[in-house]
């Protein structure tokens, strides 16, 4: 009986874990984040109690709940990094420019997973302080990967539009590449590669700038994104221009 009970508990835990793992990365992240928020709220309440009444009992309770908050925090971060990875890869672009960002996100997942287990060895307030002091410095680079992942996910979507435009254009190309093309059609066909190259260049430049050369400080606030939003808007405008050109060719020449 003594052996079967832990085995049963382990089975239940594995079942629950596998259910969670089978859910998509977004719902997993949302679940882990809610767990973190709940644990962190409990921790702040117990910490307040402990600071008001520094008993050994309150200290132990605070340490236990702090460990839960640390675990939930790192699991939530890992889930968020996985979610961003999915946002980038779901567009199936296989874009080389994202490799470094995906590597960073993967390293971040490893870092958070490792720390989620490391934190469970904490036994005293001194241990907790040492752990957090180290974590503040060590988490700068992994935390920055969230910002890189955000940008890469947006660029991946724009690349997907570009690839789709190319694919559809290839499907109508036989209808328009015949002898005796009208002059306006020729002019439009000449515009397409120029515009497409401009979009490619902007995407490549922006992808190369995702990870900066200097990464000393943690990123805070949304100002970081203001310039990047401008570039994304420019690329979208160019893509709109390109697709308008393609619509014109399709309606006025390919469908005749």
């Amino acid at each position: 009986m003594k052996k079967t009970l832990p085995a049963l508990l382990l089975f239940i835990f594995i079942s629950l874990s596998s259910t969670s793992a089978s859910a998509d990365s977004k719902s997993d992240y949302e679940y882990q984040l809610s767990q973190y928020r709940r644990s962190y709220t409990e921790f702040t309440q117990l910490k307040r109690d402990y600071l008001q009444n520094r008993t050994l009992d309150n200290q132990q309770k605070s340490i236990i709940i702090a460990k839960q908050a640390l675990l939930a925090r790192d699991l939530a971060k890992a889930a968020y990094a996985r979610y961003l990875t999915d946002l980038i890869t779901q567009h199936n672009t296989n874009y080389v420019g994202f490799e470094s960002t995906l590597t960073r996100l993967s390293s971040a997942v490893s870092f958070y997973t490792l720390n989620s287990t490391r934190s469970q060895a904490i036994a005293t307030p001194a241990d907790l302080k040492t752990f957090s002091d180290e974590y503040v410095l060590a988490s700068i680079i992994p935390d920055r990967s969230f910002y890189y992942g955000q940008e890469a996910a947006k660029l991946a979507q724009l690349i997907r539009f570009h690839l789709d435009a190319q694919k559809i254009f290839d499907s109508i190309r036989p209808k328009i590449t015949q002898d005796g093309q009208p002059i306006p059609l020729k002019a439009r066909l000449q515009e397409i590669p120029i515009l497409a190259e401009e979009i490619n260049q902007k995407i490549a430049t922006q992808a190369a700038l995702i990870i900066p050369k200097v990464e000393e400080k943690p990123i805070s606030g949304n100002d970081y994104f203001s310039e990047k939003i401008k570039t994304l808007t420019q690329i979208r405008s160019l893509q709109t221009e390109l697709v308008d050109l393609l619509v014109d060719i399709d309606l006025n020449y390919a469908q005749l």
Partner: protein, 114 residues
């Protein structure tokens, strides 16, 4: 030879003189003057009624019926709406949001300590 003995009524003679001098006319005009606009209005009304009755009598004599012209209403020809194979892609690009961060980056406390 006819007799020249004609008797003239002096009252009649007085009336005759008053008519001749225009005294009666002045009296009549003095009575009419305050009612001038009533007379003008009545004259216009009578003129209009006369004109309508004349027009009606003339129109009843003619056999030709006048009908309003038929307004030429043209129905637009239905032109089949062409849809482009790039339509869905265009809609996707238009609905693409450049807002960042998307999804929001959650706040985490990296310095949990007592």
């Amino acid at each position: 030879m006819p007799s020249s003995n004609i008797k003239i009524n002096p009252e009649a003679l007085e009336i005759y003189h008053k008519i001749k001098s225009g005294e009666y006319l002045r009296l009549l005009l003095n009575k009419i003057r305050p009612l001038k606009w009533y007379f003008i209005g009545a004259t216009i009304l009578i003129f209009l009624l006369t004109a309508i009755s004349v027009g009606r009598s003339l129109s009843s004599k003619t056999t030709q019926k006048i009908t309003p012209p038929v307004i030429d209403i043209t129905t637009p020809t239905s032109v089949p709406q062409k849809t482009s194979v790039f339509g869905q892609l265009k809609r996707n690009i238009q609905s693409f949001s450049t807002a960042l961060p998307d999804p929001a980056i959650p706040l985490f406390d990296n310095n949990i300590s007592l």
